[in-house]
């Protein structure tokens, strides 16, 4: 079945550590890719998106993600995390084949940053 996989369910890091969260998808064809973040008690917010062009995209708050088409991956990275990055992170895919406009989400990765 087509899916979005986030293999890290809970990641715990100390402040200033580097972060990489994995995201793999199984949809064929052209896709739009997104990372959303949900801070405690808040709604989902867009971190960054990839539609086309440079596969390395930069988002808000120092986050970036790299689209590797051959690996069907869109991993999220940040060189140095802060306590305020504690949140749940969701990878989402919009498969453009067939005219779909909805998002398919992974199960999320909970990030805890220890001061």
């Amino acid at each position: 079945a087509q899916s979005v996989s986030q293999h890290n369910h809970h990641v715990i890091l100390s402040e200033a550590a580097s972060l990489e969260l994995g995201c793999n998808y199984s949809y064929g064809g052209t896709v739009n890719l997104f990372w959303y973040v949900q801070y405690p008690g808040q709604h989902l917010q867009l971190l960054l998106k990839y539609f086309s062009g440079d596969p390395l995209v930069k988002g808000i708050k120092g986050f970036e993600a790299e689209f590797i088409k051959s690996k069907f991956s869109f991993n999220l990275r940040k060189p140095s995390v802060q306590w305020s990055d504690t949140a749940e992170y969701f990878c989402a895919v919009n498969p453009l084949t067939g005219g779909a406009n909805n998002l398919f989400f992974g199960t999320g990765t909970r990030l805890t940053v220890i001061p």
């Binding site: 979005v4 917010q45 998106k49 919009n94 406009n101 909805n102 998002l103 398919f104 999320g108």
Partner: protein, 113 residues
């Protein structure tokens, strides 16, 4: 500026009852989406509106679920004969046009006793 507004924020009701959940999208956004998020899961697509019409309702789990958007702005998700398995957070999102990044509301936490 105003984001996506969802009411109520919490709804507790008994099994078998009817519920309505409301979504007020960002002004000018033509596309509106409903998702459902169960504990420990990512949001799952339910239905998508382009204007007043439901362009894709393939995610609705069964015919107890129905949604409308009569004037192309506010949308209501309706659930008949609620079951305990319907308990979840129901999220609404809107985008300027289909395919553009979606902006999410805070959700309605629905609990069926």
């Amino acid at each position: 500026g105003a984001g996506v507004s969802q009411t109520p924020s919490n709804k507790v009701t008994e099994k078998g009852k009817y519920v309505e959940l409301r979504c007020d999208p960002i002004s000018g956004h033509t596309a509106l989406y409903w998702y459902r998020q169960s504990l420990g899961q990512g949001p799952e697509f339910l239905i998508y509106f382009q204007g007043t019409g439901a362009a894709d309702d393939s995610g609705l789990p069964n015919d107890r679920f129905f949604a409308v958007r009569p004037e192309g702005s506010v949308s209501t998700l309706k659930i008949q004969r609620t079951e305990r398995g319907d308990s979840a957070v129901y999220l609404c999102a809107s985008s300027l046009v289909a395919g553009q990044p979606q902006h999410f509301g805070d959700g309605t936490r629905l609990s069926i006793l």
